[in-house]
């Protein structure tokens, strides 16, 4: 007998650590105004050096296929990358697409976290709020998609 199960992520997921993986998910998936606001605040209050202006490049996507569980390359995706230094800490911003401004803002935020600036503690609440809003939007979209779910009925023959 086949048993079915599915993985879910919910709105009460909790606070946990605001590590880089989670932070960049929020800043890229959420409203880009948030990254702009954080970055502009840092630029106003701290000296910074643009180590690398936003530039375009490629990221090769490595995938695991599900037939033999082996790895292969799916193809490349265009990314924009920027690097900024604050207090001897070089931050990197990488984002899919041609998004110079966002890449630079992400680099500033990354270096702010690396340099352990006090502002980064204050950002946590905003990041959590944005994360909840992103998840709500995703659930809403999924709910709409679930309207296309097939309800099978067995016919009497």
């Amino acid at each position: 007998m086949v048993t079915w199960r599915q993985v879910t992520m919910n709105l009460e997921g909790g606070r946990g650590m605001m590590n880089r993986r989670r932070r960049t998910e929020i800043l890229i998936q959420g409203n880009s105004d948030l990254a702009r606001e954080f970055a502009e605040h840092i630029m106003e209050h701290y000296p910074y050096r643009e180590v690398m202006s936003p530039r375009y490049g490629l990221t090769m996507i490595k995938m695991r296929e599900t037939a033999k569980n082996s790895l292969f390359h799916l193809g490349e995706v265009l990314v924009t990358e920027a690097k900024v230094e604050i207090k001897q800490q070089i931050g990197i911003g990488i984002v899919i697409g041609m998004k110079e401004e966002l890449a630079k803002h992400l680099a500033i935020i990354d270096s702010a976290f690396k340099a352990n600036l006090k502002e980064t503690k204050e950002w946590e609440e905003r990041l959590l709020e944005e994360e909840e809003s992103i998840l709500t939007e995703k659930i809403k979209k999924q709910t709409e998609l679930l309207e296309t779910r097939v309800q099978f009925e067995t016919m009497d023959m």
Binding site: T3, Q6, T24, N69, T143, R149
Partner: protein
């Protein structure tokens, strides 16, 4: 006779390029990149997949510049790709974290989470909709407003569902062979040309960027008898997968320290193929193997056809062209095949004169012998 080397044509070529621009502009209409991106989803996905570069904006630009010619658009995007530095390799993408927009199975009626049709033309009547000729922005706005209002404002759940793979359930039941996780670093056909026998990673990379028509035709040929694979589609899923890269210059292997860089849309297919295996040299056991297909964007026909060809190439012992990796892998690339075919229209004056000379010589000989 002697051969004469010639040069020239510069002015004619310049005039021809001008004429090409004239043909693109003479209708006095501007098509915005944004318009192509918003309305030509299928075309953009196909161009990105065949060019092996995911960037919808540039794909739309290539389509505009190429005046809708697929082969030209793919060529433009592939050429542009070669001008960009490769900055990163992603962390391994696992599709169980896909945000699924469409997911169907031809093998099971009831799958967890259900069959999700999503957006598909599968159930349309394929009758031309003449109303689209007079479609207006106002009509579009009205339709979208009505659609928004139809939607339920309430969230029925607080959960976001990540759908498990159909094949995972069958593996748990022991119906399919469980393969150990294989972390052998994959080969890269953009760094090293194909050599035969090709590795599995080279085969998959070549197939996924193959020309849609070529991959579909060869997959179809296998079904029709020029191959030994006729699968049942276990699962087709279309959706967005997140991409992460490891931090450069940091020694940590903690994935929580990775950079999320965004997501890409893909179509992924697992096809179930019955095979007979002889374990005890006496009894023939029937088992299932999996053919794997995947591509950028939503292109289900290509992904299904790829899953057939993947399974064909796993069995080179069969004496069919679709099981011959050299035959399949060397002929499905859009840039290579269209490039080679179209080079035939470029000047071949010298080689053709040589052939003419041979024919004249033979004819002369025949005439001499006839006298």
């Amino acid at each position: 006779m002697g051969y004469v080397a010639v040069k020239g044509g510069t002015e004619a070529i310049e005039a021809s390029l001008k004429r090409l621009t004239y043909e693109r502009l003479r209708g006095r209409e501007v098509i915005e990149i944004k318009t192509i991106q918003s309305t030509m989803r299928g075309l953009i996905d196909q161009v990105m997949s065949e060019a092996s570069l995911y960037e919808p904006n540039l794909a739309a630009l290539a389509i505009k510049q190429a005046e809708g010619s697929m082969e030209e658009a793919v060529f433009l995007l592939r050429a542009h790709r070669s001008t960009l530095p490769r900055l990163y390799y992603s962390q391994t993408v696992e599709t169980d974290r896909m945000f699924v927009e469409r997911r169907i199975s031809a093998s099971f009626k009831d799958i967890p989470g259900g069959q999700l049709l999503g957006a598909t033309s599968d159930y349309t009547h394929r009758l031309l909709d003449f109303q689209l000729i007079h479609e207006t922005k106002e009509a579009i706005e009205q339709w979208l407003t009505d659609y928004e209002q139809e939607r339920s404002p309430k969230l029925p759940s607080k959960n976001l569902i990540y759908f498990s793979k159909v094949v995972d359930y069958l593996r748990e039941e022991g119906l399919f062979t469980e393969h150990e996780v294989d972390n052998t670093p994959p080969d890269d056909i953009t760094k090293k040309s194909l050599e035969f026998p090709a590795s599995r990673s080279e085969r998959l990379q070549t197939l996924t960027r193959g020309q849609t028509g070529a991959v579909t035709s060869l997959g179809y040929a296998s079904l029709r008898g020029y191959g030994q694979v006729h699968p049942t589609v276990g699962e087709v899923r279309v959706g967005m997968v997140p991409i992460y890269v490891a931090p450069p210059n940091e020694t940590t292997e903690d994935q929580e320290n990775d950079y999320y860089i965004g997501e890409v849309k893909i179509t992924e297919v697992e096809s179930f193929v019955p095979v007979t295996k002889n374990y005890n040299q006496q009894e023939n056991d029937l088992e299932f193997e999996i053919g794997y297909g995947i591509c950028f964007g939503q292109n289900e026909t290509k992904a299904i056809a790829m899953s057939i060809l993947d399974q064909c190439l796993e069995h080179p012992e069969a004496s069919f062209p679709t099981h011959d990796e050299e035959f399949v892998l060397l002929h499905i690339d859009s840039v290579e095949s269209t490039g080679f075919i179209s080079h035939l229209k470029l000047p071949h004056y010298v080689t053709f004169q040589s052939k003419l000379d041979s024919v004249r010589g033979v004819k002369q000989e025949v005439r001499k012998n006839a006298k």
